[in-house]
Symmetry: C2
Subunit: 125 residues, 2 copies
C-alpha cells in the first residue's frame, strides 16, 4: 500500500529573522531542565560556544533575554529561563502541538483517501 506520511517543519520569525524553531525549543527546554547551558549543549552534541551563540542570536532578534545566568558559586554556574523566555517557550510548544494535530487531521481528510492497496499483494497477506 502507498501510505503517505505528512511532514512539516515549523519556525517563527520576527522582522524576517529567526526567533524560535523546534531545534532551539529543545535546546532551551534542556537549559530549563538541567539548569545549565553546558549540559544542554552536551545533550544536543553542540559545543558550549555554539549553543551560547544560538541563544544570543535569538535574544538579539527578539529584543529580550531568554535566559538568566549566575556565574560561579559552590556548584559552578547556573542558567535558567527568564520569565519572557518561559512564556515564549510555553506558547511555541502549544503552537507546535496544535500544528501537529492539524497536520494529522489535514492528512486524514485530504490525503489518506488516495492511499491504495497493492494490486498484487504478496502471498499470505
Amino acid at each position: 500500500m502507498t501510505r503517505f506520511e505528512p511532514r512539516q517543519k515549523l519556525w517563527l520569525e520576527a522582522d524576517g529573522r529567526l526567533v524560535m524553531s523546534d531545534y532551539r525549543l529543545r535546546l532551551l527546554q534542556l537549559v530549563a531542565d538541567t539548569g545549565s547551558l553546558a549540559q544542554a549543549a552536551a545533550v544536543m552534541g553542540l559545543s558550549y560556544r555554539r549553543a551560547w551563540g544560538k541563544v544570543k542570536e535569538l535574544e538579539a532578534n527578539l529584543g529580550f533575554p531568554l535566559v538568566r545566568s549566575e556565574v560561579g558559586g559552590a556548584g559552578g554556574g547556573h542558567t535558567e529561563l527568564s520569565g519572557e523566555g518561559r512564556n515564549l517557550l510555553d506558547a511555541y510548544r502549544r503552537f507546535g502541538q496544535r500544528m501537529e494535530e492539524a497536520l494529522q487531521a489535514a492528512y486524514r481528510e485530504e490525503l489518506s483517501p488516495l492511499e491504495r492497496c497493492p494490486e498484487n499483494p504478496p502471498p499470505g497477506t
Copy 2:
C-alpha cells in the same frame, strides 16, 4: 512591536521518500497549465533535464505516473497530468490550504498574545 511571523514547510513522503512538496506542486501545476514540461521548467528557472528528473523521481517513489507525454506532432510535444497525478495534486493543494489556515489560527491563538508594543514608540506614532 515584536510581531511574530509563523512559518512552515510541508512535504509528503511514502516509505521515507519524497512524493510531493510545494515546489514540486508548482512545477506540476505549470505542466498542467502550459501543457509542456519544457515551458514549466523555463518558468521555474530549471533545465528541462532537471525538471524531468524531479518528475521521474516522484513517479518512482509513488509507483505511478504523474504525467503523460505525446512526442512530436504539429505543435511539438505535449505533456499533461495523468488522472492519478491530477488527484494527488488536488488533494495536496487542499492539504496545503488547510495547513496554511491552521498556521494562522495557531499563531493567532497561541503566539499573538505575546506580541508587545514598543515601550518607547517613535515620535509622531
